[in-house]
C-alpha cells in the first residue's frame, strides 16, 4: 500500500463582518443622549440649588419617612398577604370567599382613592372604638402616617396574597406528605418545609413589589404624609426652585431603590439554597466531626 498524498487544501482567511449598521445606530443614540445632556446643562437649572438641598434637613426627613413607610407598609402587606393566601387555600368556603373578596376589593380600586378614603374616614365614623371600648376621635387616630400605612399596606396585602399563593402552589405536594410521614403536623410542615421552599418563588416578586412601594409612597404626599416628594414640594413652594427640587427627589428615589435592589439580591441568594447557585461552605459546617 502506498502512502496517500493529499493535495494541500487552499488556505482562507476569515474576515469578520464590520457591522456598520449597528455601529451607526449606536452613534445616533449617543448623539441623542449628548443632545439631552447638553440641554439639561444649558437649561435654566440652577444646579447649586440641587446641591444645596440634597442633604437639607427637611429633605432628609422626607427620605427617612419614605423608607419607614415602605418598610411598615410592606410588613403589613406581607402579613395580610400570607393570611389571605392561607385563607384562600383553606377547605372552609367562608374563609376562601372572604379572601377572594378582600383581593377583589383592594386590587380593584386605585391606591390613591384608597388613601383618600382612609384619610377622610372621620367623615363617616367621627368616633371609632374597639367593640364599644376605648372610644377615640377618628381625626386623632387617622393621622397622615396611619392613613398612608393602612392604604398602602392593605392594598399591598391583596397583591402579596396572590404571590404567596403562587409560591405555595409551586411546591410539590409530596413535600407535605413526606413531612407528615415523619410525624409533622400540617402547621409545622407548612412553616418548616413548605414556606421556606416557597420563599424561593415568593421573594423575587416581593422584592419587585417593595421597589414599587418605595415609589408608590409618593402618592401619600396627597394626604399630607411627609415623605420625600411632599417635603420637596414644601421647599419649592417657598423658594420656587421647582425643577431643582424635583431633581433632588429623583436622586433620592434612585438611591433608595439602588440600596434595596442590592439587599434583594442577597435575600434571593439566601433562599435559593438547594437549587444550584449557592455557597457550598455553609452546609459543611454542620457536619459533626465523625469519631
Amino acid at each position: 500500500m502506498s502512502e496517500v498524498i493529499h493535495a494541500q487544501p487552499p488556505a482562507y482567511k476569515i474576515i469578520h463582518s464590520k457591522k456598520y449598521d449597528q455601529k451607526l445606530l449606536a452613534l445616533m443614540v449617543l448623539c441623542i443622549l449628548a443632545f439631552i445632556v447638553h440641554a439639561f446643562i444649558n437649561g435654566q437649572i440652577e444646579w447649586k440649588y440641587v446641591k444645596e438641598n440634597l442633604f437639607a434637613r427637611q429633605v432628609m426627613n422626607g427620605v427617612e419617612n419614605t423608607i419607614i413607610m415602605t418598610l411598615c407598609s410592606m410588613v403589613l402587606g406581607i402579613v395580610l398577604g400570607n393570611l389571605a393566601a392561607m385563607m384562600r387555600m383553606s377547605e372552609n368556603p367562608v374563609l376562601r370567599w372572604l379572601s377572594i373578596g378582600y383581593i377583589w376589593l383592594f386590587r380593584g380600586t386605585p391606591v390613591l382613592l384608597q388613601l383618600l378614603l382612609w384619610f377622610n374616614l372621620a367623615l363617616i365614623f367621627p368616633v371609632i372604638s374597639l367593640f364599644g371600648f376605648f372610644p377615640m376621635r377618628t381625626v386623632d387616630v387617622m393621622t397622615p402616617f396611619m392613613a398612608a400605612l393602612l392604604g398602602l399596606g392593605i392594598q399591598q396585602g391583596a397583591y402579596t396574597a396572590e404571590i404567596v399563593r403562587a409560591g405555595i402552589l409551586s411546591i410539590d405536594k409530596g413535600q407535605m406528605e413526606a413531612a407528615q410521614s415523619i410525624g409533622m403536623t400540617r402547621l409545622k410542615a407548612t412553616f418548616k418545609i413548605i414556606l421556606p421552599q416557597a420563599m424561593r418563588v415568593i421573594v423575587p416578586p416581593i422584592g419587585n413589589e417593595t421597589i414599587g412601594m418605595i415609589k408608590t409612597t409618593a402618592l401619600a404626599s396627597i394626604i399630607q404624609f411627609s415623605e420625600v416628594l411632599k417635603n420637596v414640594e414644601d421647599v419649592y413652594y417657598v423658594n420656587s426652585r421647582v425643577i431643582e427640587l424635583l431633581i433632588v427627589a429623583a436622586i433620592w428615589y434612585l438611591a433608595i431603590v439602588t440600596v434595596f435592589s442590592v439587599v434583594q439580591m442577597y435575600v434571593e441568594r439566601h433562599f435559593s439554597k438547594g437549587w444550584g447557585r449557592r455557597v457550598r461552605a455553609k452546609a459543611d459546617t454542620i457536619v459533626p466531626e465523625a469519631a
Binding site: E177, I182, G183, Q197, G274, A290
Partner: protein, 253 residues
Amino acid sequence: MDHIISAIHVEKYFGAHHVLKDINLEVSPGEVVCIIGPSGSGKSTFLRCINQLETIEGGYVTINGEIAGYKQRGHLLYPLSDKEVAKQRQSVGMIFQRFNLFAHRTVLQNITEGPISVQKRPAKACQDEALVLLERVGLAGKAAAYPNELSGGQQQRVAIARSLAMHPKAMLFDEPTSALDPELIGEVLAVMKELALSGMTMIVVTHEIGFCREVADRVLFMDAGAIIAEGTAEEILQNPQNPRVKNFVSAVL
C-alpha cells in the same frame, strides 16, 4: 393484639369510583408483605390509607392495636386532632416513589429534621445517628450534599435513612424503585433487602417480582381495588392458580 398493622374491611371511594373494596390484612412483627398488581388497582392508595394520607370511607386500620385516626368510644369513632394523627404517624415510616426529600435541606438535615424537630431528641445525638444511618445505606460522605446533587437511587436511600431515623416500628414502601433508572434499582433493593433481614416489618408495593420472590414472607395480588390472591411468594409467583394473576405474572417475568 400482636399485629403491628391490620386493616379491617377497608373501603375507599374517590367520588363515585370504588377504589378499595373490603381490604383485609394483618401484618405481624418482622413480616415482609409485598403487594403486586396492575396500575390503578389501588395498591398505592391502600398504602396511603394505612399512613392516613388518604381517608377511608368504611372499615378501619389499626397500628400497634390503636385505631388509626380515631378515638374509640363505645361503638363510635371520633376523629383525632392533627397533632394526635401526627403522633401516630411517627411509628410508621413511608418511602415514596418520588423520594420527596426536602429540597432546601442537606442530606444530613433531611435525616435529622424529624428526630430533632418532631421527637425533640438532642441535636448532637441525632446527627451522630444520622451519620451511622448514612453509612448503613452506603452514602457515608454525602451528609453535606443537597438532594438535587444526588442520583435518584442515592436520594431514595437517603429517604430510607430519613425514615429509619424516626425509629419506626414498620415501614411502607410505595413503588420505591419505579422512578429510577434500571441501573440504580439494584442499590435501593439491596438496602431494602438488608432492612428486611434485620427484622423490619415492611409492606412493599412494587413491580419488582425478583425482590418479592427473594424477600417477601407473603405476597398479595390486587386487582380493581380488591385483594384477589394471597400467599407465599412461591404460591403467587411460581404457581398462580387465579387466571388473572397467572396472566399478570407471565407478562412481567
